[in-house]
Symmetry: C2
Subunit: 296 residues, 2 copies
């Protein structure tokens, strides 16, 4: 039984030297053994970027959009550009190592490496995911929490790294604990000037008048790879799609809301700030069927 | 020659189970070998806290204030409380392992551990520090950069973890790269509503009219352990000290500014937003002598 697998890249970027003694582009290693230096900037400063990629029936989904976003996040952090071919090869090898399963997931991590060493660290972790069917059908209770930043910081203050998927996710974890304290399961962030942003590990998608929307890009939020797939799904069904700057009060007027992400897929919001929301079981199931079986 | 040392705690908190097979409270391990799991939340989410402690002539300085701040940061992140006695013992053992040197440093890290495991990870890393005498005498060129948060987020939005020393420090590193792009060496953060906060790894201390000041506490910034020592230094010399909420323009009117931190000690600001500042060499040297030789 191989339910987890780990590959360490010997040369995560062609712009930086390889690690000593490396011949192959990556090595499959024991995921239960220590593999990282305690001096790695991933562990001491959250100084790196990551992606989480779903694997449906052995195929990584939206792999190229994820690899492109990975490279964009790296560029935002002034990290050496990932060698996309080496990463893709490592990802496919990790997937092939896992036992066959309907749903698995991959995490790619690129860190600045050991301080002063000048070589980034890269690894690919794969695992067979548990059953998300309950959250996909019953949905989540959501509270709105302040993200602290104005909606325009990505433009005014790029050093805040808003919009990059960094390893510095302590806040994204802390808000889930705050949600639990408030009797909720998940969070939608609002900017300090009152606009809907994203979830801590998801994109907000909502339906109003038969059209599918998501908050606009350039708000210091991640460009959603899963949201992109859902927009394709909607357009194939003749629905229009769009981007909107909106407030939490306006979002409350939506017909349906979902939190969408790579591994959990589309989780319908069944409670928003304490008020029940309808869950369209049929449409949500169609979304999740599409996401689970997409080949892209 | 032992210029670095590493100890892994077997039970970083009495509120969580020990790691398997642990008998001693900590183990000295090879700092050049991998010691961390790639699944540790330190490395994947920056989900933990740290302290950096200076060691002068073999004595950790301000050790108890650092351990108290470590515990406060852990509490802010809902981490299990560090077992302060075990951490102190590990710190002293790491210090004793290092070659004798006038200046060394210790980093303590407490992370939430491997996801789902329920046991935090803790380590103590020690190293002999390089020569900081140049930055302590010549000083640093500083630019002011937006921190993105209002000055009151610590009170309004505690889930943003402002004021805790977390491992999610990617922004604190990014601003130093932005400073370099602007021809500067270091940064002073300003809140989104216009108040002076702190440096990315330092506290702002300034002198005006013969009194020593620092921005007030409760601004979502770290309580400075080194700043605390410097206030004692100033008071022993008959100077008054105080806390002030002030703007970057008001700070520019100070007679002197320093960025103070555990390892670098007091670095005088010789250029502030492109304008030269005077550096009081004698007073700065007295500050640094005090910090280097303090026994507390």
């Amino acid at each position: 039984m191989t339910r987890t697998a780990l590959a360490i890249l010997s040369r995560p970027s062609l712009d930086a030297p390889a690690h000593d003694g490396a011949i192959e582009p990556f090595a499959l290693v024991d995921p239960t053994s220590p593999q990282l230096s305690a001096l790695d900037l991933a562990a001491t400063r959250g100084d790196g970027v990551f992606e989480t990629i779903s694997v449906g029936d052995g195929r990584p989904q939206a792999l190229e959009p994820h690899l492109r976003r990975f490279a964009r996040s790296a560029a935002t952090l002034d990290l050496p550009a990932p060698d996309v071919d080496a990463w893709r090869e490592a990802i496919l090898s990790v997937v092939a190592t896992l036992d066959p399963a309907p749903e698995a997931a991959i995490k790619t991590v690129l860190s600045r490496g050991v301080e002063g060493d000048g070589r980034p660290t890269g690894w690919v972790y794969g695992w067979i995911v548990g059953d998300h069917s309950r959250v996909r059908t019953e949905g989540v209770r959501v509270v709105v929490l302040d993200r602290g930043y104005r909606h325009d910081v990505e433009r005014t203050s790029p050093w805040l790294l808003a919009g990059a998927k960094t390893l510095s996710y302590a806040v994204n974890r802390a808000v889930l604990r705050e949600a639990a304290r408030r009797g909720a399961d998940d969070v939608i962030f609002v900017s300090s000037d009152g606009y809907v942003l994203e979830g801590p590990t998801s994109t907000v998608v909502y339906r109003r008048g038969g059209a599918l929307f998501t908050p606009g890009t350039g708000l210091g939020i991640l460009e959603g790879t899963t949201q992109g797939s859902l927009f394709t799904f909607a357009e194939e069904r003749g629905m229009s799609t769009g981007y909107e700057l909106l407030t939490p009060a306006e979002l409350a007027e939506a017909d349906d809301i979902w939190l969408v992400s790579s591994v959990r897929h589309a989780a319908p919001v069944r409670e928003y700030e304490g008020r029940p929301m309808r869950v369209d079981a049929e449409f949500t199931a169609a979304m999740n069927d599409y996401l689970r079986t997409r080949v892209d």
